[in-house]
Amino acid sequence: MVENNNNGDKSPEEMVTLDEKGQFLEQTVPGLLSSYEIEIGRSSDTLALIIDPKDLLGIFNILKHDSQTYFDFLVCISVVDYIEYIQIVYHLLSTTKQHKLVVKADLDAGQPSISSLTSLWLGADWYEREGHDLFGVWFEGHPNLEPLLLYEGFEGHPGLKSYPLPEYKEW
């Protein structure tokens, strides 16, 4: 049996180093976004930016259109419920340069709200509707935040940790 957690006391951020492209990003991105308050961290082996939700559109505009970064591909928008706050995680990819970036924004758990990315990426549409559906995140500027996965009139946001799971019973 192999001990499944042989680096137990070290967090994974310290374990992995960035590859070339990641290091390049680590050097260029802070310069590009110097007018915004960002915090640089790691998500596994990828560079992660932690940003203020209100800067979202400005930052993504730069990241998408700047010739050094050119993140033209929005891979995924995930919403994670950390109980005290709700985190939105954007995974970005550049199809030409092949580098990746993770952008995170922490939202207030009571009234999570962030601007919508649909003006930049059409593909953000359903992710945001899903985020609204399951986590109750309000995406400002989204053209149509109707329920996507759940049926109309469903109450509550089942993605949240506070949403109770029904007891399993045989039937």
């Binding site: 199809t95 030409t96 340069k97 092949q98």
Partner: protein, 372 residues
């Protein structure tokens, strides 16, 4: 008309109904077996020896099924529509001869009568689509109307040329005129037009646009079930058989076959049935291999290709008859027109050079990832 004549006619009609029903049963089995073989399956083989009783089982199932009446349907039209489709298809058969004198009533205007009556079933399809109170059904009904009306014209034109050649609309005389040469040799273009228009009229692949299963889920028939649906089904198969029979009579020499006596009923019926079933198999073969056309492509094929060709066919035939050209030349001209049409179509469909029809392989080691 004496009472005896009336009784005779009625019994003949009853006999025809029975025979046609049996033919439909055989056709359903034949289709399933044949398409099964095309698709490398066995087809039905459980009910009875070689699955021979399968159509009977199907018929029992269909009749025993519940007849569902959706709430919003227009009841009278809904129940009448199957009959409106069904009756003309049977009435055609009154004047289709199976062998010499084996016919209920051989009309002098036989061909005209058939063409006129076969159009009537369109009304049934539209009204079925309308009465079903279903959007798929109404789309299907309109498709059927557009398709059937536009394809009626090439049929009429090709039949017109035949009538000019034979000098009669009487089907028996048309067959007699083919004693030495079946008209398919004189009119390959006409035969193609007739079969093409016939397929469209039947709503069979590649022209099965109004019952298109993957689009409008059965079109006008979507709400019908049980016995009423089976009436549509019956009509469709009888129509298939009728188109095949007409092709046989008009282009393949009917019950005549070199070396066999044309006047003996038994051999005549046998030859006729063999030819007709072969045509039916060709129709099934299309079904097994072709995808479906789209409605606009179908209409442009009908109006831009088949109708002009039909007119050309009539004119060529008329000129040939007037100038008394040898028949072989008429056949050659017709064949050349047909072949050149196919050539033009295939060239137009492959407007682009061949390389466009391939997908190239991308190798990043050669081009670099920034190729875009």
């Amino acid at each position: 008309m004496s009472l005896l004549d009336l009784l005779k006619t009625i019994s003949a009609i009853m006999g025809m109904l029975t025979v046609l029903s049996v033919i439909v049963l055989s056709l359903t089995l034949l289709e399933r077996k044949f398409i099964g073989r095309i698709q490398m399956r066995k087809g039905p083989n459980r009910v009875g020896p070689f699955g021979l009783l399968q159509p009977v089982a199907d018929a029992i199932k269909l009749v025993a099924k519940e007849d569902i009446l959706p709430t919003w349907v227009d009841k009278v039209i809904y129940w009448v529509s199957p009959l409106v489709v069904f009756i003309p298809t049977f009435m055609i058969w009154v004047t289709i001869p199976v062998a010499r004198d084996v016919v209920i009533r051989n009309l002098d205007m036989g061909l005209f009568y058939i063409i006129a009556f076969s159009v009537l079933s369109i009304v049934g399809l539209i009204s079925a689509g309308w009465a079903s109170a279903n959007k798929y059904a109404i789309i299907g009904g309109f498709r059927a109307a557009a398709q059937l009306i536009s394809y009626e014209i090439p049929i009429i034109l090709s039949v017109l040329a035949i009538a000019m050649l034979a000098g009669s609309l009487n089907l028996e005389r048309i067959v007699d005129a083919q004693a030495t040469k079946p008209y398919i040799f004189l009119q390959p273009l006409g035969a193609f037009l007739f079969l093409c228009g016939g397929l469209a009229e039947l709503g069979r692949t590649p022209f099965d646009i109004h019952p298109a299963e993957s689009e409008v889920v059965g079109g006008p028939f979507v709400e019908y079930s049980g016995a009423h649906w089976s009436v549509f089904f019956l009509a469709e198969y009888i129509n298939t058989f009728a188109i095949a029979a007409l092709t046989t009579l008009l282009f393949l020499g009917g019950w005549l076959f070199p070396g066999l006596p044309g006047n003996v009923t038994a051999s005549g019926v046998l030859v006729f049935l063999t030819k007709t079933y072969l045509v039916v198999l060709v129709i099934f073969w299309f079904r097994g291999t072709y995808p479906r056309l789209r409605i606009d492509q179908l209409m442009s094929l009908g109006w831009k290709v088949l109708v002009p060709l039909g007119f050309i066919n009539v004119v060529v035939t008329a000129v040939a008859l007037k100038t008394e050209l040898p028949e072989i030349i008429l056949g050659l001209i017709s064949f050349v027109i047909l072949a050149s049409t196919f050539w033009i179509i295939s060239v137009r469909m492959r407007t682009a050079p061949k390389p466009e029809y391939t997908v190239r392989l991308y190798d990043p080691s050669l081009e670099g990832l920034n190729a875009r």
